[in-house]
C-alpha cells in the first residue's frame, strides 16, 4: 500500500505537514526530473521511491528515470564510485570513453524537458552535455568526494562545472567548485519497515526468532563488517564494560558474500569474540529491515563506533527509536549526535566503554537522552524535512521559469 503525505502528520513535528502544503504552492505545476542508476536497492533509490510520490501529491510533476547501460558501463561507474571515495582503481582511456558513449546513448531516449533536472551521483553526470539548458540542472552527490582519486575527479569535474548547482550531504563531503553548493542532509522514513513503530510483542517475537535473550542490557552496533566501522573496537569496549556491568553485545551486519574484505573482517571479529556466549554476531540478509528495527528497539545502548563513515543514517534510525547513541567522530555521525544531549561522540575504545558504562549505570540519563534523541531526529532527519528542502531548492532555482 502506498504511503501518503497525510500519513506523516502523526510522526512529523507539529505544523510541518501543513507547511509542506503551503510551500508547495510556490512550485505547484512545475516539473522535476530525477535520474539515477537504479530503481531498487541502495539508499538513493529507497528515498526516491518515497519522495517522488509525495512530491507528485504536492502538485510537482516529478518523473524518475534510470540510466541504462551495459555491464561494462556499470563496472566503469563502480570504479568511478570507488575512486571518488578515495580508493585506487585502474581506469583506462577506454573506460572513460565508454562512460561518455553510454551517457550519450541514454541522452537520446531521455526527455529533459523539466524545470529542474536532478542528476544523482556520478553514473548519469555526463547527461548534462546533452539536455537543453532551459531547466536548471542540479548534481545531487550522495558520496563523500572529499579525497577523490584526482584523475577521475578532474574528468568528472568537467561535467559538474556545467551544472547550475550541486548538493552534498555534508560540507566535508564536498569539493571546491565555482557553482553554488547546497547542503541537504539525507533522511530516514519513519513509516518504512526499518523505522515504523513495532509493538512490544512484535519486537519480542523477532528477537526470539533471532535467539536474542532479553535477560540483560543489550549493546548493539548495526553495520557492515568493515574495518572502518571498528567492530573489533566495539568488542574491546564491551569487554571493559563487562567487567562491572553484565550485558550482551550484538554486532549485526549485512551479508559479506560479495565483499572479500568483509568476509576477512567477519572472521577476525569472530576470532576476537571467541566463545563468549554474550556476543552475538549476526549476518543479516539485505532485506532484514524489520529485524534491524526490532534489534534497535530491543537495545539499551546503540554504538556506531566508526573510524570513517558516510552519513551514517543508522545513527538516526537508532535515535528515532529513542536510544542514546555512542558514535565515532566520523562522517555524518557528529551532526546527528548532539554531544551530551542525545548521545556521545568518542575517539577511542576507552571512550566508548566509559560512555557505555555511564549510560548503563544511569538509566534515567539514558532514557532522557533517548527521548531527546527521538525528538531531535523528528525535527531534523525525517523524510518530511528532506521534502521541505527539495521544495525550497526547487522554488529557489526555478523562480521565474
Amino acid at each position: 500500500m502506498s504511503v501518503r503525505l497525510e500519513d506523516y502528520r502523526n510522526v512529523a513535528p507539529p505544523g510541518a505537514v501543513d507547511l509542506l502544503y503551503h510551500m508547495s504552492e510556490k512550485v505547484r505545476g512545475k516539473s522535476m526530473l530525477n535520474i539515477n542508476s537504479t530503481r531498487v536497492g541502495g539508499g538513493v533509490a529507497e528515498i526516491l521511491s518515497r519522495l517522488v510520490p509525495m512530491l507528485n501529491e504536492l502538485g510537482v510533476k516529478v518523473a524518475w528515470e534510470i540510466i541504462q547501460g551495459s555491464e561494462d558501463f556499470f563496472r566503469v561507474t563502480k570504479a568511478f564510485h570507488n575512486s571518488l571515495q578515495g580508493q585506487d582503481q585502474a581506469i583506462s582511456e577506454r573506460m572513460y570513453q565508454l562512460y561518455v558513449e553510454e551517457n550519450r546513448e541514454n541522452a537520446k531516449r531521455l526527455n529533459f524537458d523539466a524545470d529542474m533536472i536532478m542528476i544523482h551521483d556520478p553514473q548519469p553526470a555526463a547527461l548534462v552535455d546533452y539536455g537543453d539548458r532551459a531547466g536548471k540542472w542540479v548534481w545531487r552527490c550522495h558520496l563523500d568526494i572529499s579525497h577523490p582519486a584526482r584523475r577521475v575527479w578532474r574528468f568528472l569535474k568537467n561535467y559538474v562545472l556545467k551544472y547550475d548547482a550541486a548538493i552534498f550531504s555534508l560540507p566535508t563531503f564536498a569539493q571546491k567548485l565555482p557553482i553554488p553548493k547546497f547542503l541537504i542532509y539525507p533522511s530516514i522514513d519513519p513509516l518504512s519497515d526499518k523505522n515504523r513503530d513495532l509493538s512490544r510483542g512484535e519486537v519480542n517475537e523477532i528477537l526470539d526468532r533471532l535467539n536474542i535473550p532479553r535477560d540483560k542490557p543489550i549493546l548493539l552496533q548495526v553495520s557492515r563488517f568493515d574495518r572502518f566501522k571498528d567492530p573489533v573496537g566495539v568488542i574491546q569496549a564491551y569487554r571493559i564494560v563487562k567487567k562491572h556491568n553484565d550485558c550482551r553485545l550484538i554486532l549485526a551486519g549485512g551479508g559479506a558474500a560479495d565483499d572479500p574484505e568483509g568476509e576477512v573482517v567477519l572472521q577476525e571479529v569472530k576470532e576476537v569474540a571467541g566463545a563468549d556466549p554474550d556476543i552475538h554476531i549476526m549476518v543479516l540478509p539485505p532485506d532484514s529491515n524489520l529485524e534491524i528495527n526490532a534489534l534497535q528497539r530491543g537495545a539499551t545502548v546503540v554504538l556506531q563506533k566508526s573510524l570513517k563513515e558516510g552519513f551514517g543514517l543508522t545513527v538516526a534510525e537508532a535515535m528515532w527509536k529513542g536510544k542514546p547513541v555512542i558514535g565515532g567522530f566520523a562522517g555524518g555521525i557528529t551532526v546527528q549526535i548532539l554531544y551530551y544531549l542525545t548521545g556521545y561522540t568518542v575517539s577511542s575504545v576507552e571512550g566508548a566503554a566509559f560512555r557505555t558504562r555511564y549510560l548503563l549505570n544511569n538509566p534515567e540519563v539514558a532514557r532522557k537522552m533517548g527521548n531527546d534523541a527521538r525528538e531531535y531526529i523528528r525535527r531534523n532527519f525525517l523524510i518530511t524535512r528532506q521534502l521541505a528542502d527539495y521544495l525550497t531548492l526547487m522554488g529557489a532555482l526555478t523562480n521565474g521559469r
Binding site: 505544523g15 501543513d18 547546497f182 547542503l183 575517539s347 523528528r378 525535527r379 525550497t392
Partner: protein, 228 residues
C-alpha cells in the same frame, strides 16, 4: 506579512536553503582569519540561525562557533567566552563579527600554542537563504494568537521572534509589536519583550509564549483587534 497592528496577525514559517561556502578552519587562528573576511550572512547563519536549527534542544554553547571550539577543538574556555556572546545585543551584524573577533584574539593572546582540531572535525563556514512560507494561520484575538502558537510549524516561531528582530533592526519581535499595537496590551508586550531569546529552543520558546498568553487569557479575558 502583516504584524503592524492594523491587520490580523498572520503566521509565516520559513525554510532555509543552506549553502556550503567551501571555507574551513582547523585551528583557532584560522577561525579568526576567516571570521574577518567571511560574508556577513555566514556570521548570521552560525549565530542567529543556530536557533532555527535547534527546534527542540539547545546545547550548552548556543552558537556554532562556541560549539565547535568547545566540542571539536576541546577548548572549553573559549567555548564559554563565545557562548555568552548574545547576538541580539548588537546593533549590526558587523558589530557582532567584531565582538567574536575580539574575544578570540584576546583568548589567543593568552595561549602558548594555538588550539586546533586533532580528533574532531574542521569548522565549515556556511550561509543560508531564508525563504518565507505563509502558514495560512491568522489571529485577530489573543486567544487565536495563542491557538496559532500551539499549532504552527516551529519555523514560524523563529520567523516572528528571532528573524523579526533583524528585520526590525534588532528591536522587537513581531509578537511584541502586535501585542502593543494590535491588541493594545502594553503589559503583554512588556512580558513578551522581557523574554531572553538566547537561551531557549524554539519549542521551549513556544511553550513560554503560550504560557504568557494563558496568563492574560485566564486573568483578563480576550482582547481582539477591531475588524474595522
Amino acid at each position: 506579512m502583516h504584524a503592524d497592528g492594523s491587520h490580523p496577525f498572520e503566521f509565516v514559517g520559513c525554510t532555509e536553503l543552506r549553502e556550503i561556502l567551501g571555507i574551513k578552519a582547523e585551528d583557532e587562528v584560522q577561525l579568526l582569519d576567516v571570521l574577518e573576511e567571511v560574508p556577513i550572512e555566514s556570521i548570521y547563519y552560525h549565530t542567529h540561525e543556530y536557533f532555527l536549527r535547534h527546534q527542540y534542544l539547545v546545547g550548552p554553547y548556543p552558537n556554532d562557533f562556541a560549539t565547535w571550539v568547545a566540542t571539536q577543538v576541546r577548548d572549553r574556555v573559549l567555548g564559554e567566552r563565545l557562548g555568552v556572546i548574545d547576538p541580539y545585543e548588537f546593533e549590526t551584524l558587523e558589530d557582532l563579527r567584531e565582538a567574536l573577533i575580539t574575544v578570540i584574539e584576546d583568548h589567543l593572546s593568552r595561549m602558548h600554542s594555538v588550539p586546533r582540531v586533532d580528533d574532531g572535525e574542521p569548522f565549515y563556514f556556511m550561509m543560508s537563504h531564508l525563504v518565507e512560507v505563509p502558514t495560512g494561520t491568522a489571529a485577530r484575538t489573543l486567544r487565536e494568537l495563542r491557538n496559532g502558537l500551539t499549532t504552527v510549524d516551529a519555523s514560524a516561531i523563529y520567523f516572528h521572534f528571532y528573524a523579526a528582530r533583524i528585520r526590525r533592526d534588532h528591536r522587537d519581535s513581531d509578537f511584541t509589536v502586535w501585542a502593543e499595537e494590535g491588541l493594545k496590551m502594553p503589559e503583554l508586550a512588556r512580558l513578551l519583550r522581557s523574554i531572553n531569546p538566547y537561551i531557549f529552543s524554539l519549542e521551549q520558546l513556544r511553550g513560554r509564549l503560550v504560557a504568557i498568553c494563558d496568563t492574560f487569557l485566564n486573568g483578563g479575558g480576550e482582547t481582539g483587534v477591531s475588524s474595522s
